[in-house]
């Protein structure tokens, strides 16, 4: 067992756990895109960053790949973390607005704008399909190629691979291939639909007899942030 501090609380978890595993075990939400239970952690989407350390030595690390150390101080939702996540989500929206997963994450983090040139890329190179193919399907039919802006995923030489059984696991797991929510403005990356409608409680004083159906409630989160600032 190993003891460390999670958002100021002293907690004890099993040795060998990553910060993300521990946080989920303790019920603290950390958003992820490139992480799935059953696949090895990769750390490419950077959404799951958390702040560790104190003072000048404080830094952000991806919680899915960082093993817990004795006495480590972790903050899963500090203002530095939230600011970073918002910018990352804005970049995701700018590149791949057609994914419902990304839209939902963005609206859950109150990302209200997208300041970059709009692109419509189909792949965010999270590598879930590559790991799915290799680790669960044992096929190793697809992989990463090249680097930097030329990086892509595919079969060798882009021809039908003999390893591929066309099982479709790569399609199943892809967070970018899902249909997006378009609402009334199909061109806008931020859907503006259901999740971005201000929840009723924002407009009214208190709840009254209204039932809140949102978990976690966007409005409550926003108001918490506002109060902090």
């Amino acid at each position: 067992m190993i003891t460390f501090y999670m958002n100021g609380l002293e907690v004890t978890v099993e040795e060998g756990m990553t910060i993300l595993e521990a946080a989920r075990f303790l019920g603290l939400p950390i958003p992820t895109l490139c992480h799935k239970d059953g696949l090895s952690p990769y750390g490419s989407c950077r959404l799951c960053v958390v702040e560790i350390g104190d003072g000048l030595k404080a830094k952000l690390v991806s919680s899915c790949t960082y093993p817990i150390e004795e006495g480590l101080r972790v903050r899963t939702a500090s203002s530095r973390v939230m600011k970073a996540r918002r910018v990352i989500l804005e970049l995701f929206l700018a590149s791949c607005p057609q994914s419902k997963t990304i839209q939902d994450l963005a609206s859950a983090h109150a990302v209200q704008q997208q300041r970059f040139k709009q692109e419509y890329e189909n792949c965010i190179l999270c590598g879930l399909c590559v790991r799915m193919c290799e680790e669960q399907m044992r096929a190793k039919a697809i992989g990463f190629r090249s680097r930097g802006e030329k990086r892509s995923i595919g079969t060798p030489f882009d021809i039908q691979s003999e390893e591929c059984r066309q099982c479709g696991a790569c399609l199943y797991i892809c967070p970018a291939c899902q249909l997006r929510c378009t609402y009334t403005e199909p061109e806008r990356p931020i859907c503006g639909g259901c999740a971005n409608l201000p929840p009723p409680c924002l407009e009214k004083e208190g709840f009254g007899d209204l039932m809140c159906y949102m978990t976690p409630c966007v409005a409550c989160e926003i108001r918490k942030e506002d109060r902090k600032e």
Binding site: Y42, G43, S44, C45, R46, V49, K59, L60, V61, S62, T65, Y66, P67, E69, R80, K83, A84, V87, I88, L91, F92, A94, S95, R115, F116, K117, I124, L125, C126, G127, F144, S146, R147, G148, E149, K150, R151
Partner: protein, 630 residues
């Protein structure tokens, strides 16, 4: 040559080689590193060999072919020993007369290096300001040895440090010695070398440990590691043997990029010779200690200089960094504990053991011991490799060693640390060069590239150039580094093409700080530095581009126009030089540039003998003397 079987045999050999050496025999030293060969050192070597044979001087004059000495601007150069006469930019037709002069013990005054201020020739290499202000601990060894002759290296005290260490010294003593020398990793981050070694020595491993030399030098404009590998490969091998002995490592790997063919060739020759002599392999010098060193060639990905990506590449996988911890000293190549040091760090090891840690620590400052090689390039008079003690001020390097700017222009900034470094403005040139102070001002030491920029350099363009490099060289694993560098480049491109908006600046800063914060490896974490540091110190240039649509340096093509002023004599030189056929006009009549066709290459300006081609940006012409609008 048979393998040496004991330490005593080695010292016998060394003493014999020393005794054989005649220090008074005139020697012609020709540096033939990559820089020397490119500027014609091979011709000089061929002529010298022929002359020496023809004139039967082989007994009287020695020829020594070495690696780069550092003064690349003046290549091909020739150095005459003993005495140290220095002939810069030697043309092949003068070589014969130099040999004749050497044979007669004379000096050819007219071929010597001329002092810039007084015009008087300077004879000795040591008196030339470029060399005088350096402390050349490592580079001076390049002058003494022919890299492909192990006898030269042994005769110059080479492998003595190794033999001393192997003759029964406690490995812990070696580590203590490196620790107390205060040597810090020369690869850029400045981690204390001794501490890293101690961590490796404490790692238990049944399947062996690795020592790795990181020679994947990829910064544009930096070539210190190449020169050391080319000029003195045995010093790296010796350093690695000492390191392996101290830490209990069993295998060595030199990871060198394939773009360095000469370095690889010299290294392979050196490894073969060292193995023949019994410095590598099983039972080194009869001490029972064994080590093998292999060479791994990298395919030239910049990110493979990052240690975890380098390990992946050695294992034959895609060069991609991974999360640390576990650090390479815990789990590295093939899962075994691995120590990775930079070329320059390894080259310092024999020096430390040879001199003693105390003596080594006297050079430099308390926190930053020893010397560091920088490659000084850009808009500077004396381009080359300079080795200086840590803690020296930037202004001393730029003005005294570098000799100032090329055409009396004002030096504006210096870019240190390669593409991930930052730009330091001229007002801060009083800063001492060490790891901490460079980090404080938003740059990094990096592996030691120094690019000097003057008023004809546009800082937006500089930032854009480095972003382009980084967006191509980012491995692409982290979304934020891959997309962040692309987006920063996109915004900078907008600004330099006149499409910039004021809110772009805050967006750049916001994005830059997040890329810095959330990237996985050192490449991503330092990649916004060129943008953030230029925004910090040269914000007015950005504003000039955005608000006035002007590029005062006359670099950003979308914001400048070329035109011909009345100085034009109608000589038609520019007309012939223009690749876009945008200039027209009759002979002896002033010419006109067709702005539609002009691709702004600047060919006309560079050929015009009358200063008639003007670069204009916004309202006025760019004043090339002051960097201001007229």
């Amino acid at each position: 040559m048979e393998r040496l079987k004991s330490i005593d045999e080695f010292f016998l050999l060394r003493d014999r080689l020393r005794a054989d050496r005649n220090p008074d025999l005139p020697t012609i030293v020709i540096p033939a590193g990559t820089c020397g060969q490119a500027s014609g050192a091979n011709d000089l070597i061929r002529i010298t060999k022929r002359e020496l044979l023809d004139k039967r001087l082989t007994e009287k004059i020695q020829l020594r072919i070495t690696g780069c000495h550092g003064f690349c601007e003046m290549e091909p150069s020739v150095r005459i020993e003993p005495g140290g006469t220095f002939y810069p930019k030697v043309s092949p037709k003068n070589m014969a007369s130099i040999i004749e002069a050497v044979a007669k013990g004379r000096v050819l005054k007219e071929l010597l290096f001329g002092n810039r201020e007084t015009g008087t020739p300077i004879e000795k290499q040591a008196d030339i300001p470029f060399f005088k202000n350096q402390v050349r601990t490592l580079l001076s060894r390049n002058e003494k040895v022919d890299p492909i002759r192990i006898f030269h290296y042994i005769g110059n005290d080479g492998y003595s440090a190794m033999a001393r260490v192997l003759s029964g010294k406690d490995p812990r003593w070696v580590i203590e010695e490196i620790k107390s020398s205060g040597l810090r990793g020369r690869g850029g981050a400045g981690f204390p070398t001794g501490l890293k070694w101690e961590m490796l020595s404490k790692q238990a491993s049944r399947n062996g440990k690795f020592v790795v030399c990181n020679a994947d030098e990829g910064d544009p404009g930096a070539y210190m590691d190449r020169s050391v590998l080319e000029g003195n490969p045995h010093s790296i091998i010796e350093g690695m043997i000492i390191g392996a002995y101290g830490t209990g490592a069993t295998e060595g790997i030199v990871y060198v990029r394939n773009e360095y063919p000469l370095a690889i060739k010299h290294l392979l020759i050196a490894l073969r010779q060292a193995t023949q002599f019994g410095f590598l392999g099983k039972d080194i010098l009869g001490t029972g200690f064994s080590l093998d060193i292999k060479v791994m060639r990298g395919a030239g990905a910049f990110v493979c200089g990052e240690e975890t990506a380098l390990i992946k590449s050695i294992e034959g996988k895609m060069g991609e960094p991974r999360q640390r911890p576990p650090f390479p000293v815990e789990r590295g190549v093939h899962g075994q504990p691995t120590l990775i040091n930079n070329v320059e760090t390894w080259a310092n090891i024999p020096v430390i053991i040879g001199l003693g840690a105390q003596e080594f620590a006297k050079v430099g400052t308390k926190e930053n011991a020893g010397t560091k090689i920088f490659s000084l390039v850009g808009k500077i008079r004396n381009t080359g490799l300079v080795e200086v003690p840590m803690g020296i001020t930037i202004s001393k390097i730029v003005n005294e060693i570098g000799g100032g700017s090329v055409n009396q222009t004002r030096i504006k900034a210096i870019q240190t640390g390669g593409p991930s470094g930052g730009c330091i403005p001229a007002e801060m040139f009083h800063l001492p060069i060490d790891y901490e102070s460079l980090t404080q001002v938003g740059s990094i030491m990096g592996s030691g590239g120094m690019i000097v920029m003057d008023e004809h350099t546009c800082m937006v363009d500089v930032a854009k150039y480095f972003m382009k490099f980084l967006k191509e060289e980012s491995c692409g694993k982290c979304f934020i580094c891959r997309k962040g560098t692309q987006r920063m480049h996109e915004i900078l491109d907008d600004i330099s093409s006149g499409r910039g908006k004021l809110e772009h600046l805050s967006l750049l800063e916001e994005l830059g700080s997040v890329v810095k914060d959330t990237s996985l490896c050192g490449l991503g974490q330092t990649s916004p530095n060129p943008v953030l540091s230029t925004l910090r110190y040269f914000r007015d240039e950005y504003l000039e581009h955005i608000q006035n649509r002007q590029c005062l340096a006359g670099v950003c093509k979308a914001l400048i126009t070329y035109s011909i002023n009345p100085n034009c004599s109608g000589c038609q030189l520019c007309l012939k030089a223009c690749p876009a056929e945008a200039i027209h006009g009759e002979r002896k009549e002033p010419h006109i540039i067709d702005a539609e066709k002009c691709n702004k290459c600047g060919a006309c300006k560079s050929v015009c003998p009358f200063d008639a081609v003007e670069v204009r940006s916004g309202g006025g012409s760019v004043d090339w003397e002051r960097g201001r609008m007229g």
